[in-house]
């Protein structure tokens, strides 16, 4: 049994085979391998008795269910006007310079992916970003440097 098969089997056993559990299972795969590859989608379809097109259809609808390979740390910077007014563009430049990538790209070591996202719900404490599931608020270029450096040194 391949790793993907094993992972999907465990997730399906944990959440259940009914289609109402599909979101949780797709999220489970993304949590473990940062994106949904074809193999995972086909395997989920087989386990849940759905067509791969149905699984892909659901997966491709949701921004956080990435169907493209992502880095270990996915950075989602809020692009709503209120964060923009608080200096989001400077934060974006800082991230681009630190990571040497543009929006939508992943660093060559597969560590970071830089993305923009819609309102994160931190408008009173902008600019804000998510790194995986963690929220960072009231960002300054200095703060961003510290956060990124800390993650880089983690492993």
């Amino acid at each position: 049994m391949s790793n993907t098969q094993q992972m999907v089997k465990e997730l399906v056993e944990k959440h259940g085979r009914e289609r109402t559990n599909l979101m949780a299972i797709l999220q489970g795969v993304v949590d473990q391998q940062n994106h949904l590859d074809d193999q995972a989608i086909i395997e989920i379809a087989r386990e849940m008795d759905l067509s791969a097109a149905q699984v892909y259809g659901t997966a491709s609808f949701y921004t956080f269910l990435d169907i493209k390979p992502r880095g270990e740390y996915v950075i989602r910077l809020c692009r709503t006007i209120t964060c923009d007014m608080k200096g989001k563009r400077e934060i974006l430049h800082t991230l681009e310079n630190l990571l040497k990538v543009n929006i939508g790209e992943t660093t060559p070591d597969n560590k970071f992916t830089l993305l923009e996202t819609n309102c994160l719900g931190w408008c009173h404490k902008g600019p804000a970003m998510l790194i995986n599931n963690k929220a960072y608020t009231e960002l300054t270029p200095e703060k961003v440097k510290e956060i990124i450096t800390e993650i880089k040194h983690k492993s």
Partner: protein, 388 residues
């Protein structure tokens, strides 16, 4: 002018001056008719933005015959500029659960769900811990009801109730045709009550205060109070619970920075009110309604940037299933850019305004229908900023 209220801070949602367990235990012993009557008397309308009377929603669902019914807490707070549900779930989760349990009793549901937006996943661990504790309380009270938390994955449209059901059913979050409404055909095709986070807390608190007490606050069309998310050009951004019915002028006096040019009420799907209308605009269902989002802009801000930002948002978040919304959002964005560049004449803005009218009439759900709100209110009031 209709009856207005002065800005007044209220403390119902976050108050620590009550024990949710006492309220819940008393409510569980009351008759369903009494609870519904109290909600109807209170005049409480949904706090997510659409403003449907909560008592009616509960009453209709209670009347349905079905082997299974559900109550769902809509915590897919995605409207730009709104962040009050996050705070409510963080600070008073037990009141949210409590409101769901009371609703479950009234309609006869055994299962409830909280649909938490993916952006708030960091709340999940604590929320689940509190929920386990709450389930023990339900056992103590001998009430057969369980809540499960499910998470979204970054789709604004899933805040639309029927799209939320689709998402929970493992499908693309595409809104359904209405009718049928959730009260008869909701999650898994069963009668379902779906309420905003804040609405559920008010429902619980009305069990304690009584409908009449709540009704004393606010105006004829907008009873009670509401939690506002204040952001933008303000020295005091944050979350404030205020009595409904104040004018925008009153609001700006309190929260503005002295140089307020306009306020976007109700997020990207809401209305932009320019300074000249602050005096005669009421924040509420008789004036400009809001799910809580209040973005303040001062005179240094370009309203072109604001509408451009909203259109980028809509263009990306349109689910794409109906043409007026999918193509309309794209064309509006391209259109304002073309006018700004000078590739299209000023009159082209009128064409775009006509397009938003078409979208309002023909889009399947609130997303496409509401683009006209911000677009017309910004373009009409700040036309020169669209061009120069």
């Amino acid at each position: 002018m209709a009856d207005t209220k002065q800005l007044k801070r209220v403390d119902i949602i976050f108050t620590e001056d009550c024990n949710y367990k006492d309220i819940l235990s008393e409510a569980l012993q009351s008759s369903n008719e009494d609870i519904v009557q109290s909600l109807l008397n209170s005049g409480l309308r949904g706090r997510g933005g659409a403003g449907f009377p909560t008592g009616m929603k509960w009453k209709f669902t209670a009347q349905e015959e079905s082997d299974e019914k559900f109550i769902i807490c809509n915590a897919d707070e995605g409207e730009p500029g709104t962040f009050k549900d996050r705070e409510i779930l963080f600070k008073v989760p037990f009141k949210v659960f409590g409101g769901m349990a009371v609703g479950a009793k009234v309609i006869g549901a055994k299962e409830g769900y909280i649909y938490l937006r993916g952006e708030y996943k960091f709340l999940l661990d604590d929320l689940q811990k509190h929920l386990d504790e709450f389930h023990n309380v339900l056992d103590e009270l001998n009430f057969d009801f369980r809540i499960k938390i499910v998470t979204g994955a970054g789709a604004y449209i899933c805040g639309e109730e029927s799209a939320l059901f689709e998402s929970m059913e493992g499908k693309r979050g595409e809104p359904r045709n209405k009718p049928p409404y959730p009260t008869t055909y909701g999650y898994k095709g069963k009668p379902t009550v779906i309420n905003n986070v804040e609405t559920l807390v008010y429902a619980l608190m009305i069990c304690r205060l009584g409908g009449e007490k709540f009704k004393e606050l606010g105006t004829d069309d907008s009873r009670g109070s509401k939690v506002f998310s204040v952001s933008g050009d303000t020295p005091i951004p944050g979350i404030y619970e205020l009595e409904l019915g104040m004018t925008l002028e009153n609001f700006v006096e309190e929260f503005g920075d002295g140089d307020t040019k306009s306020v976007q009420v109700g997020g990207a799907a809401g209305f932009c009110v320019p300074r000249k209308h602050f005096k005669d605009t009421i924040i509420g269902f008789e004036g400009v309604p809001t799910g809580g989002s209040m973005m303040i802009f001062n005179s240094s801000r370009s309203m072109y940037n604001v509408i451009h930002n909203y259109l980028e948002f809509f263009e990306e978040e349109s689910c794409g299933q109906c043409t007026p919304c999918r193509v309309g959002c794209q064309q509006l964005l391209l259109g304002v850019e073309a006018v700004k560049r000078g590739d299209k004449p000023i009159e082209y803005l009128n064409e775009l305004l006509k397009l938003t009218e078409t979208m309002k009439m023909t889009s399947k759900c609130g997303l496409g229908q509401s683009v006209a709100n911000s677009f017309a209110s910004i373009v009409d009031n700040f036309k020169e900023e669209m061009i120069y």
